[in-house]
């Protein structure tokens, strides 16, 4: 029985992944992401004072988050609604495929694709940073200065955290898709929710310092409604600071991402379970 469930889940995941990876939109975003990430190295003429590696890395991290979020929202929505609009979901769910298997399969397929996207962009960014850090280290040695710090391991850990963050975004998008009636509505609401998730840490920090305790309570309560995506912004200390980030902090961010993804998926399954298709 368990084997059958696993087989069905794998089949939906593989099918979703194949379908998504064949789309031009994915290839376009990967290409665009790589070009933008690399162009950070050429935009350093605009840089005022921060270290060159930090500037390039920051640009690349922004690129992964920006294009990754677009991919997570648009691709997940498109994959979900394609099944409903093309009516391919009807014969699929008429077979012994449970609705939770359908939702989980869609998520895993989209998340695997986001993993490929993250790995490709971080691969290019890592190579760029590695080459440049060696050059800068040699220049620094010649000038008698301390060499800049760059950790490939730290970058790899951050890549995993970014993948988890995009997983949360994909799960949130699936939650919206589970009750949305149109693709446009799902994309719009998911994008707005993503904006709130990304901004809520800033908003809480800024508004909670106000003296009004009621404001603080309202802001704190509102902040509990959606995940705080800024918790995953550990890229610069992980990859570019010798002190790094304590393992407990990385585990905390990773655990937060994994548990939130599971909770959002569970809610998506609950909403989708009695939806009329």
């Amino acid at each position: 029985m368990r084997n059958a469930t696993l087989r069905r889940l794998c089949a939906i995941t593989a099918n979703t992944f194949t379908e998504a990876s064949r789309q031009r939109f994915f290839a376009l975003l990967v290409l665009l992401g790589m070009v933008v990430a690399v162009s950070g190295a050429f935009l350093r003429v605009f840089n005022f004072g921060s270290s060159e590696l930090k500037f390039t890395a920051d640009f690349g991290f922004g690129c992964v988050f920006f294009f990754g979020s677009i991919l997570a929202v648009v691709m997940t929505t498109q994959l979900f609604f394609a099944e409903l609009e093309n009516r391919t979901a009807l014969p699929l769910l008429a077979r012994p495929v449970r609705r939770w298997e359908f939702v989980a399969g869609k998520f895993l397929g989209a998340w695997a694709l986001l993993g490929v996207f993250t790995a490709l962009i971080f691969g290019v960014l890592g190579a760029l940073l590695l080459v440049r850090s060696h050059e800068l280290a040699q220049e620094a040695i010649r000038a008698g200065e301390s060499a800049p710090w760059f950790s490939v391991q730290g970058l790899a850990i951050f890549a995993l955290l970014q993948w988890l963050r995009l997983g949360v975004v994909a799960a949130l998008t699936l939650l919206v898709c589970s009750f949305a009636r149109s693709l446009l509505y799902a994309v719009t609401v998911s994008s707005l929710a993503l904006l709130v998730c990304q901004m809520q840490g800033t908003a809480r920090a800024a508004l909670a310092s106000g003296s009004n305790s009621w404001v603080r309570v309202v802001v704190e309560t509102a902040g509990r409604l959606l995940p705080d995506l800024q918790l995953f912004d550990l890229g610069v200390p992980l990859a570019l600071q010798p002190a790094g980030v304590p393992a407990g902090v990385v585990a905390s961010a990773a655990g937060y991402g994994i548990f939130y993804t599971v909770v959002l998926l569970a809610l998506a399954v609950w909403l989708f379970s009695d939806r009329e298709i």
């Binding site: 950070g40 005022f48 800033t202 800024q230 655990g255 937060y256 939130y260 809610l267």
Partner: protein, 254 residues
């Protein structure tokens, strides 16, 4: 039997709230660490960018380049002497990339040194109106205080630059406020912080002796300061700096 839509939405909100409450302790360690170790997550640096919050959030990772572009735009307004736009954009640069000392120092200096001249020129209407010296002093004080506040915030974010930043504050007090007491206080802060600037004790003593006429206080402070350096309280001070301080003490005691 499917639940009514309103009931379902209410349950969804409650479940999200419940999940958020349960899961926030899991991410609590990461949140606390970020607030303590990353200036971009420090509420003090966010105050100036609340209105720009959307930008700050959307461009999570593009902070450095957005800050640089904001700074370029601030330069344009600096050329036109547009105080409001220039200060807003400079503060936005700080909020977007608070780990960059360049933005802090230049913003504080432009506000303290340049902006009073711009406001005075505007109020004088191209020299057609004479301004009361008291008004000019008030304008200078207003901008100098804003510059000093920025430096005080910068000290919290760059503790290793504390000595150098207090010296910048002393210079503002010296050249914009003409206040030797306050100038001396800032040089003293620089001399007594964990990362002192080597000339700060000498500058402090010079102001005490030459401008405030407190020769005895200067000698007493310098003796105690030299003792502290010898006991290893300020390891950043070199032996050459100690020699200079001893020479200075001998000069005062003559």
């Amino acid at each position: 039997m499917p639940l009514p839509l309103a009931k379902k939405a209410a349950i969804l909100v409650l479940l999200l709230l419940f999940a958020g409450t349960i899961l926030s302790p899991i991410g609590g360690t990461a949140e606390r660490w970020q607030k303590e170790n990353q200036p971009a997550f420090n509420a003090a640096t966010l105050e100036d960018a609340v209105g720009q919050g959307a930008l700050l959030g959307i461009f999570g990772g593009f902070r450095a380049i957005m800050a640089d572009f904001a700074w370029l735009r601030a330069y344009l307004h600096w050329e036109n002497h547009d105080r409001a736009a220039c200060e807003t954009l400079m503060r936005l640069s700080i909020a977007l990339d608070p780990g960059n000392l360049f933005f802090w120092r230049n913003t504080a200096d432009i506000i303290a040194y340049d902006m009073p001249h711009w406001e005075i020129a505007t109020r004088r209407h191209g020299g057609r109106i004479d301004l009361d010296p008291a008004v000019i002093k008030q304008i200078s004080q207003k901008y100098a205080q804003r510059g000093l506040d920025l430096y005080a915030n910068a000290v919290r974010i760059f503790p290793r630059q504390e000595g150098a930043l207090w010296v910048q504050c002393a210079l503002i007090c010296q050249f914009r406020l003409n206040d030797p007491r306050l100038t001396a206080d800032y040089y003293r802060k620089s001399a007594e912080c964990p990362t002192p600037v080597w000339f700060a004790p000498i500058a402090y003593v010079n102001i005490l002796t030459k401008e405030l006429g407190q020769k005895n206080e200067a000698a007493a402070w310098l003796r105690s300061h030299i003792k502290k350096i010898r006991s290893g309280q300020y390891p950043a001070q070199s032996s050459a700096a100690l020699d200079r301080l001893e020479t200075k003490l001998r000069d005062i005691e003559k």
